[in-house]
Amino acid sequence: MTHVLEARGISKSFRNGDELTEVLKSVDVTLEEGELAALLGVSGSGKSTLLSIVGLLLAPTAGTLMISGERVEAFSELQRTLFRNQHLGFIFQFHNLLPDFTAMENVAFPAAAPAGGISAAMRKRARELLERVGLAERMDFPAARLSGGQKQRVAIARALMNKPALVLADEPTGSLDRVAAERVLDLMREVNREDKATFLICTHDEKVAARCSRRITLLDGRVDAAGETFVGESATKLG
């Protein structure tokens, strides 16, 4: 199987004055195509830091990082920006839609900004994605007028716009009520199953983790081997 993500010996430390805090200590993680993995851990375990490093939003102190077969840890700022645009999708806890744009424009944004405008093909793809997440009738609604659950569904559609190799989700149901959270999780599972999209979901919610095919638990900056679980045939062992 193809490794979508292959992180080896990822370490990250932060200096605060004379004090050096080591948040990640030689973390190894691999994800294969089509996996739906939950990244678990208590607060301060380093899961958000790992997600940021994998999302090329933060550079590791040490280690190698391969995404879609490409070494990315030493990329320049510009290379990271382009790579994020073409290979990664993001879903954040607070959806972070652009409030002055419609649902369709928000979804098309990752493709439209580098291209200089929303083409007919982009519009078609955005429409399909919004139909997929059940928001066809809200296509031209300003994002600011959507409910919390609807906004998060638009955020999922946006994350999928450029057909990313890996979708990174940070507490995607953290700000939703139970019904909306269920719907968002169902949607992510459906996209994962039908499109073979690979998801790495950072969460501290056991219910979210239970819906994933694999659990990766971080404990004190290391992968807790005791906390890893593989469910289903798409799962793979930790590297």
């Binding site: 920006t81 994020r84 073409q86 990664l88 972070n96 990752p110 900004a113 580098p114 291209a115 200089g116």
Partner: protein, 401 residues
């Protein structure tokens, strides 16, 4: 360009804030236009006032300095000039006038004899500055005929026109005789044909007009004239025309600016003061734009972070803010030019009780192109600070906030 769409959308999203921002720019531009139109208007009026009643270029014989002619073959112990005085007159004035008539830039020509004389009436004696002119070109330089308040402007063979203050001081009125005594010691009885009021005190109490023919025997100048006064179609070109005429005739050519050096200095100082005011009004406009966009960039940190996370380049983010600055600058400058022109045009219609303009303002001289270009360019420059700060935003930090 998608960055333009985003910039426009950002401006639309806060209509009241955008309207206030554009109004602020427009206000600054209006102030700029008003100051420019006022200063230009004042300069135009002062220049017109000065040049309306005087020549734009005066031609005179250059001062001749006598020199000792020496024969190198003969040894001379010492030589001294006994006298260097020579009356300055232009003997070839007719050919000079013919040359001037062929110049497109020349609108009027008046060959004159100017000199000093006394008017004597009984015990009253008053010095006068005499302008002897060709009868047909009496109004070429100064519109004397229009300034006559009693009598008429018909000089004739023995006529004289005097100013109203001089007439009052000497108790003279149109139709009365007066003894005219020149600096050459020649007396002649002239008749006051008309009394004029120029509005300039020194002229009204010291200047008198007689005909050239009358002046010739009185000033012992049977052929020549002392000066040729010229009006130009464009008074602003006086320096260049004077230079040309000096080269073409060998005569000393004096432009009106040289005769009114104080006025020129005052106009320059006034223009410099105006430039400072314009500069400060533009700077305040630009500070306003920069601070508003900095606030906008701070308010939209989260959105910028998301865009950056999704792989939107720093250049795109910077372009969004620069384009906002450009739009605000363009719209504000255009609105400011319109309101500025409107305000100046309205002020130009206000008149004083005597019918003259209340404010010497020139609405067409508001510096509209300059202010449009400066404001738009300045707005783009002002937006570089927020654009740079937005583009350099760390996406992770922005999203976490």
């Amino acid at each position: 360009m998608f960055a333009f769409t985003v910039a426009r959308r950002y401006l639309y999203s806060s209509p009241s804030q955008t309207a206030l921002l554009i109004s602020g720019v427009a206000l600054g531009v209006t102030a700029f236009v008003f100051i420019t139109a006022l200063i230009q208007g004042l300069a135009i009026r002062l220049t017109a006032d000065v040049t309306a009643n005087s020549a734009h270029v005066s031609l005179q014989q250059p001062t001749r300095v006598a020199r000792v002619l020496q024969n190198p073959a003969v040894h001379t112990e010492a030589a001294a000039l006994v006298s260097t005085f020579q009356r300055r007159q232009i003997r070839t004035w007719r050919s000079t006038v013919a040359l001037l008539r062929n110049q497109d830039s020349v609108s009027a020509i008046s060959p004159q004899i100017t000199g000093s004389a006394f008017l004597v009436k009984g015990e009253a004696v008053a010095p006068v500055s005499v302008n002897a002119v060709e009868v047909e070109s009496l109004n070429a330089i100064t519109p004397v005929s229009t300034q006559i308040i009693s009598g008429d402007a018909n000089l004739g063979a023995d006529g004289i026109l005097i100013g109203v203050r001089l007439a009052q001081d000497m108790g003279l009125a149109a139709g009365q005789p007066v003894l005219f005594r020149t600096d050459r010691g020649i007396d002649r009885l002239l008749t006051v044909r008309g009394v004029f009021r120029s509005g300039v005190q020194s002229v009204d109490e010291r200047v008198a007009y007689i005909s050239l023919q009358t002046a010739r025997p009185l000033f012992r100048l049977p052929e020549g004239v002392t000066n040729i006064e010229i009006k130009l179609t464009d008074p602003g070109s006086a320096r260049q025309v004077a230079e040309f005429l000096h080269g073409a005739t060998g005569l000393r050519a004096t432009p009106w600016q040289e005769k009114n050096a104080n006025l020129e200095g005052a106009l320059t100082a006034q223009a410099q003061t105006g430039t400072l005011i314009q500069l400060f009004s533009l700077i305040s406009v630009l500070i306003g734009i920069a601070s508003a966009l900095i606030l906008s960039a701070n308010r939209r940190r989260g959105e910028i972070g998301i865009m950056r996370a999704f792989g939107v380049s720093r250049g795109f983010i910077a372009a969004v803010f620069i384009l906002q600055g450009l739009l605000i600058g363009l719209l504000g400058a255009a609105l400011g030019c319109i309101t500025g022109y409107g305000l100046c045009s309205w002020l130009a219609t206000l008149t004083k009780p005597d019918g003259t303009m209340a404010l010497p303002i020139a609405p067409s001289e508001g510096g509209y192109v300059t202010v449009m270009v400066l404001t738009t360019m300045g707005a783009v420059l002002a937006s570089l600070i927020p654009a740079r700060s937005a583009a350099r935003l760390d996406p992770l930090e922005a999203i976490q906030q």
